[in-house]
Amino acid sequence: MSLPKPDELLTDVDLHKTPEENWMDIKPELKRGMYCGIVEPHTMEDLGLPNLGKWQAYDEKWPLPENWKEIVRKEILRRMEMHRSFKLFMDICVRCGACADKCHFFLSTGDPKNMPVLRAELIRSIIKGEFSTFGKLLGRFAGARQLTEDVIKEWFYYFYQCTECRRCSVFCPYGIDTAEITIIMREILHKLGIAIDWAMKPVQNCYYIGNHVGVPPQSFKENLEFLTWEFEDITGIHIDLDKYINRKGAEILFVPLSGDYFADPGIYTMLGYIVLFHYLDLDVTMSTFASEGGNFGFFNSLEMAKRLHAKIYEEAKRLKVKWILGGECGHMWRVWHQYHNTWFGPIDFLEVPKSPITGTVFEHAKSNKIVHIVEFTADLIAHGKLKLDPSRNDHLIVTYHDSCNPSRALGIFEEPRFVIKHVCNNFVEMPENTIREKTFCCGSGSGLNAGENLELRQRGGFPRANTVEYVHKKYGVNQLVCICAIDRAVFPTLLEYWVPGVDVGGVHELVANALVFEGEKSRTEDLRRRPLKHPVKGVDQPTEEGEEG
C-alpha cells in the first residue's frame, strides 16, 4: 500500500461539509492505513489476558465471545461505578461543538466521528439506548441507539483514532476529557479480548524484559557503550558507564525511555542525559529492569499500566536510592505525575528530592519523590552550575514542540523553554494557537505509532507538521525539539513527509552539545556529527580540518 503524496493526502477533507446520512446510519468502514493490526494471541496469553485467538479487524465476522453484549453492559456499568469522570462526562455534554475542530484527527480526516463530541457519542448513545428508560423510549430523538456488532467495530476504529492528547478537554466548557473516555473504552474492548498488537507487544516486552522494545540488559549496556564511545571520539571525554548501571546505593535512580536508547534520533537525547550526569559527576544510576519510563500499559488499561510501573518503585527500593529522576517523555509524565502517587504511594521509603549540586529541594515533588529531568536541568542552569556555550548550537534554528501530555497533564511550559534559551541562540516559537496548552499531538501517541496505520499517522500529525512548515519557511527552522520519546520516534517520518529538512531531537541533546567540558578536544561537528557553525577549540591545538569519525 502506498501513501498518497503530501499534496494529495488531504484533498478529501472538507471541514465544512457533513455527510447526508445521520451518523448513526453510517456503517463503520475500516479503511486500510487507518487502523492497527490485532494483537497476537500469545502476547495476551503471556500476560494472562483474554483474547479472541487469531483474527484481524478486516474479517467480516469478528470472533466475539457469545455473551459479548452482557460483558459490554456489565463493564460499562462497572466503569461508571468506578469513575465519576466517566459517568459525569456521559451526562453533561450539551453538544455545543466547541471541541469539534480541535482534534488533529478531525482536522486531517474531516470524518465527523473524529470530532471529540461524536467520538464520545459513540458510547453515550449506547448508554442511553441500553440503560435509560427515556433513551429507549425516545430512541434517536434523544441520541440513543442499540448495541450491535457494528458498534464494536466502530469503537475499535475510532477509539484507536484518538491519541489521548487532551486538546479537546482544554476547550470544553465542562472539561470533558476524551482521553478519559478513550482510556475506558479501550478497557472495555480489552475485556472482550480486542487489543492492538502495537500497543500490546511493547507491554509484553516491558513486563518481562524491562522495556518496550525488549532490549535485554547486556544490549542496554552495549547501546550506551556505543553512545559513549561516539562521544569520546567527538570530544575526547571518556565516560565510565559502570556506575550508571544497576549500582546499589546511588543517590538517584534515573529512569530512561527505551525509545531513547534504541533508535536515532532519540539516542542523542539519551547521550545527553549521560553526558550531563558525567559532567556533574552525579551520584545516579539506572536499572536495566526498570529501564522504561514510558508506559504502553496505559494505552490498554489502567491496571496494565500499574502492573508495568510497579517495578520502578521496587527497583528504587532494591537499589536503595533516595529519589527518582525521569527522562523526557509524554504520556509517561501523565502517568508519573497523575497516577503514580495514587498507585504506589505513600512513597515513604524515599526522601524528598534534593539536587545534590544546587541544594534545591523539589518541594512540588515532596510526596511522590519523582523529578522531571528538565526541571532538574533548569535548576542547574538557574544556579549557574553548567558552563554552557550556546553558540555550539548556532548551526540550528530551533523550535520547541510542547509534547501533549506534559503540557496538558503536567503544565511544564517554562522549564524546557528556559533550558533551550540557555543552550542555543536561535529559538523561535510556533504560532500562538498551536503551542503550550493548545499544542497539537504528533498524531501517533497512545500506542498508534505502528507501520500499518501510516496514513492515519501522517494525517493526525498534519496540524503539527503544518505549523513546523510555517516556521521552517519563515525562519528557516531546521531543528524541532520536544520532550517526548514517541515524538522523537515518529516526527522524523512525519516531517520527512510534510516538511523535509527539519531534524528532531530532545532538549538534553542540545544541552549536551552546548556543555563545555574541561579537557575536551577540538571539534567541528555536533554530537550527531552535523557540521558546527563555529568550530570548538579544545585543549589540543585548534585545527582547521577537524577529525572525522
Partner: protein, 360 residues
C-alpha cells in the same frame, strides 16, 4: 427533521394548557397541581442526579492543565497560570469561579480552517458571547421573578428590576434589557444549530427541544408584559399562594391563558431539567478535570478502590538474564530473594480474583 419533531412537541406543550385552561377551565390543575409536581420532580430529580454522581468515586487526580505548573520557586507563574494550573485549593476555587461565572474555557475557543494545504486558526468568541448572553440573562430574569413570590419584595430585587429596566420606552412599561439580550442569545444558539454544518450534524432533537422550550417561555413572558396584558394582581396572588404553600386560584379575576401557557412551559422545563443535558448546570461543579489541583506530586490522592496487581519481580528477571549480565559485567544482586506470594486482584486476568467491591 430533529428540529421539526422538537418543534411539534413544543407546540403540543403550548396547546395543552391553552386547551386545558381556555376550554376545559382546569385552572387549579395548571395553576397549582402541575407547578407543584414539576417543581418536586425538579428538586428530587436534581438531588438524585447529584447523589448518583457523588456515589462514584474520583479515583485519580486528573486536572487538565492549561498553565504553567508550580515547580521551581524562581519560575514565575502569572495569575493566569495559577488559575489554569491551580496548585492550592484557593486557586482551584478561583478556576471554578471563572469557569462557571465567565465560561473561561469557552472563551478560549478557536476556529480552524483548512485552506488548501494550510490550517488557519482564528478567534471564535461568538459561541462564548451567545452563551454568556443567554445564561446571564436567564439568571437575572429568574432573580427578577422573586418579586412574584415575596411580599414585600426585597430591596435588592427591586434594585435589580430598576437597573434592568432603565431603558425607558415611550409607552409603559419600560423594556427589560435582559429580555432583549436573552432573545438575542437564544436566537444565536438556535440559528447556530441550523447553520453551522458541524453543529447541525451532531445535534439531536433533544438539543433543539430545550431551546424551543426556553424561547417559548421567554416569548410568552414578553407577550404578557408588553401586549397580551394579564391581571398582574391576580397573578401575584396565585404565585404568592404557591410560595407560601397556601395556593388559591384568585376568584373572579381572569388571569388569561397566556399566563398558564407560560407557567406550564416553565413547569415542563423544570421537570425535564434533571433528566436531560441541562444538568450540566450542576454537573460542571463535579468535573474532575477542572475542580482538582495540579499538585499530584506534592499531595497524594487516595483511590478508594485501588487494588494490588500482579507484576514481574526483579528476582525472576535476574534469574532469566543472569548469565548475560555477568558476561556483560553488569552487577548481580546476590541478596535478592524470590518474593513471597502477595495477594493481588485483576479485572482482566483469566482465573484471577476480582478486586473487592467498591466502597461508596
Amino acid at each position: 427533521m430533529n428540529a421539526l419533531i422538537s418543534f411539534i412537541i413544543f407546540g403540543i406543550l403550548v396547546g395543552i394548557p391553552w386547551f386545558g385552561v381556555g376550554v376545559l377551565g382546569l385552572d387549579s390543575l395548571f395553576g397549582i397541581v402541575i407547578p407543584y409536581v414539576c417543581f418536586l420532580v425538579f428538586v428530587i430529580g436534581l438531588i438524585y442526579r447529584i447523589v448518583c454522581w457523588a456515589k462514584s468515586p474520583v479515583p485519580y487526580k486528573i486536572p487538565t492543565t492549561c498553565g504553567q505548573q508550580k515547580s521551581l520557586p524562581w519560575i514565575k507563574r502569572s495569575l493566569r497560570d495559577r488559575l489554569e494550573s491551580p496548585f492550592t485549593t484557593w486557586e482551584v476555587v478561583l478556576r471554578m469561579f471563572f469557569e462557571i461565572v465567565f465560561f473561561r474555557s469557552l472563551f478560549r475557543n478557536l476556529r480552524a480552517d483548512l485552506q488548501g494545504k494550510r490550517l488557519i486558526y482564528g478567534s471564535a468568541k461568538w459561541l462564548w458571547l451567545g452563551a454568556i448572553l443567554f445564561h446571564w440573562s436567564f439568571f437575572i430574569i429568574l432573580l427578577r421573578h422573586i418579586r412574584l413570590f415575596t411580599n414585600p419584595v426585597p430591596e435588592i430585587i427591586q434594585g435589580l428590576d430598576y437597573l434592568d429596566s432603565f431603558i425607558q420606552s415611550l409607552g409603559v412599561p419600560p423594556i427589560y434589557i435582559t429580555d432583549i439580550l436573552i432573545l438575542a442569545g437564544l436566537t444565536f444558539l438556535l440559528l447556530r444549530r441550523f447553520i453551522d454544518s458541524k453543529v447541525s450534524y451532531l445535534s439531536y432533537g433533544s438539543d433543539f427541544f430545550p431551546l424551543f422550550l426556553i424561547l417559548g417561555i421567554v416569548i410568552t413572558g414578553i407577550l404578557m408584559r408588553y401586549s397580551l396584558k394579564v391581571d398582574l394582581y391576580a397573578v401575584k396572588q396565585l404565585t404568592l399562594g404557591l410560595a407560601t404553600l397556601n395556593p388559591t386560584i384568585p376568584e373572579g379575576a381572569k388571569i388569561g391563558s397566556i399566563f398558564y401557557i407560560h407557567l406550564f412551559l416553565v413547569s415542563s422545563l423544570a421537570a425535564y431539567f434533571p433528566f436531560s443535558k441541562l444538568v450540566h448546570m450542576v454537573g460542571v461543579f463535579f468535573s474532575p478535570t477542572r475542580n482538582m489541583a495540579n499538585n499530584n506530586r506534592a499531595v497524594r490522592h487516595v483511590n478508594p478502590w485501588e487494588y494490588p496487581v500482579k507484576h514481574y519481580t526483579y528476582y525472576e528477571y535476574q534469574e532469566r538474564f543472569k548469565d548475560k549480565m555477568i558476561e556483560a559485567g553488569i552487577p548481580i544482586d546476590e541478596e535478592v530473594q524470590p518474593e513471597e506470594e502477595h495477594e493481588w486482584y485483576s479485572l482482566y486476568m483469566i482465573g484471577s480474583k476480582l478486586p473487592p467491591k467498591i466502597k461508596s
